[in-house]
C-alpha cells in the first residue's frame, strides 16, 4: 500500500508538499499549453510567440517552485540524514532524475525557443520553435511518468 495511504504525514511536511505539487501542476500545465499552441500554430507568428512565452512565464516558474518544494520536503522527511550507502526508493530516484534532467532540457528549450522567436521577427522561419515544441512534448511525457512514480510509489 502506498506511503500516501499508510503514513500519517507529519504536519510540518504538508506545506512543502503543497508547494511541490502546486509547482508541478503549473509546470505540466505550462508544458501542455506551450506544446499545444506551438504544435497547432500553423506558422502563425503571434501564436508561436504565445506558445514560447507560455513556456517561459508558466513552465519555468512552475519548475522552480516544484524543485524548491521537492528539496524542502526531501529535507523535512529526513532523506538527507540517511547514510550515503542507503539505497533510496525508486520513485524518489525517478522524481529527482526527471526534475533535474528535465530542468536542463527545459533550459535548452527556452534558449532554443528564444532564438526561434528572435529569428521569427527577422522572418527566418519557425524551425527552432518546432524543436522547442518537440522538447516540450518530451518533457511533458517525462513529467507524467514522474508524477505517476511520485504518487503510485513503485518499489
Amino acid at each position: 500500500m502506498s506511503a500516501v495511504f499508510a503514513a500519517v504525514r507529519a504536519e510540518e511536511q504538508n506545506f512543502p508538499l503543497f508547494v511541490h505539487v502546486l509547482g508541478a501542476t503549473i509546470l505540466v500545465g505550462g508544458l501542455l499549453t506551450a506544446a499545444t499552441i506551438l504544435a497547432l500554430a500553423r506558422g502563425d507568428a503571434r501564436s508561436l510567440r504565445v506558445g514560447y512565452w507560455t513556456l517561459l512565464a508558466m513552465s519555468f516558474p512552475g519548475w522552480i517552485i516544484m524543485r524548491v518544494g521537492a528539496q524542502w520536503i526531501y529535507s523535512e522527511q529526513g532523506w538527507d540524514d540517511l547514510p550515503d550507502d542507503f539505497e533510496e526508493p525508486a520513485w524518489l530516484g525517478i522524481g529527482y532524475f526527471a526534475a533535474d534532467l528535465g530542468g536542463l532540457i527545459l533550459l535548452v528549450s527556452l534558449i532554443v525557443g528564444g532564438i526561434g522567436v528572435y529569428r521569427l521577427r527577422a522572418d527566418k522561419g519557425s524551425g527552432l520553435l518546432r524543436a522547442t515544441m518537440i522538447l516540450s512534448l518530451i518533457l511533458l511525457a517525462a513529467y507524467v511518468v514522474a508524477a505517476w512514480a511520485m504518487s503510485g510509489k513503485p518499489n
Binding site: M1, S2, V4, F5, A6, N14, L17, F18, V21, L22, A24, T25, I26, V28, G29, G30, L31, L32, T33, T36, I37, L40, D44, R46, S47, V50, T54, M58, V144, A147, W148, M150, S151, G152, K153, P154
Partner: protein
C-alpha cells in the same frame, strides 16, 4: 504497486490534467485580451478543444477515481469531512468552469458573425467581449476552488 496504488496514481494524473487545462485557458484568456479582430479570436478554437479535453479527462478522472478510492481504501470513508469538502468543491469548480466557458463563447459567436459579414478588421465590441470581466472573475474563482481542493487533499482536515 497494488491496484489502489494504480488508482491513486491515475487520480493524481487526472488532477494534473485538470490543472493543465485550466492553465491553457488562462493563457488563452490573457492572449484574447489583446485581440480585437475575428480571425485571431476564432484561431483559438483548436487550442480550446485541447483545453476542454484536458479539463474533461481531469474532472472525470478525479471524481470517479476519487470516489473509488474513498470506498476502496480502508483508512478512508466517503463521509470523512475532507472527502465531503472535496466533493462539494469539485461540483463548485465544475459549475464555475461551465459558466466560464459560456462567458468566453460570446466573443467567439460575435467573431463568427463579423466574419460572416465580411468585417475582418478591428472591432471595439469584440475587444470588449474578449476582455469580459465576468469570464475573468469566473476563471479566477474556478482556479481558487481547485487550489482549495489541492490544499484539502494534502492537509486532509478531519482525517
Amino acid at each position: 504497486m497494488s491496484f489502489d496504488d494504480w488508482m491513486l496514481a491515475l487520480h493524481v494524473l487526472s488532477a494534473f490534467s485538470y490543472v493543465a487545462g485550466l492553465v491553457l485557458f488562462w493563457v488563452l484568456i490573457v492572449a484574447a485580451r489583446r485581440t480585437d479582430t475575428p480571425g485571431p479570436t476564432l484561431s483559438f478554437a483548436p487550442f480550446t478543444k485541447v483545453g476542454n479535453a484536458a479539463v474533461g479527462i481531469g474532472a472525470g478522472g478525479t471524481i470517479v477515481l476519487g470516489i473509488f478510492l474513498a470506498f476502496s481504501v480502508g483508512d478512508y470513508d466517503i463521509w470523512d469531512p475532507w472527502i465531503v469538502a472535496a466533493l462539494v468543491l469539485w461540483f463548485v469548480a465544475a459549475g464555475l468552469g461551465q459558466r466560464t466557458g459560456k462567458a468566453y463563447l460570446v466573443p467567439v459567436q460575435k467573431a463568427q458573425e463579423l466574419n460572416a459579414a465580411g468585417q475582418t478588421g478591428p472591432n471595439t465590441e469584440l475587444l470588449a467581449l474578449n476582455r469580459t470581466s465576468q469570464g475573468l472573475m469566473l476563471q479566477f474563482l474556478a482556479s481558487l476552488v481547485l487550489l482549495l481542493i489541492l490544499a484539502d487533499m494534502i492537509w486532509k482536515p478531519g482525517a
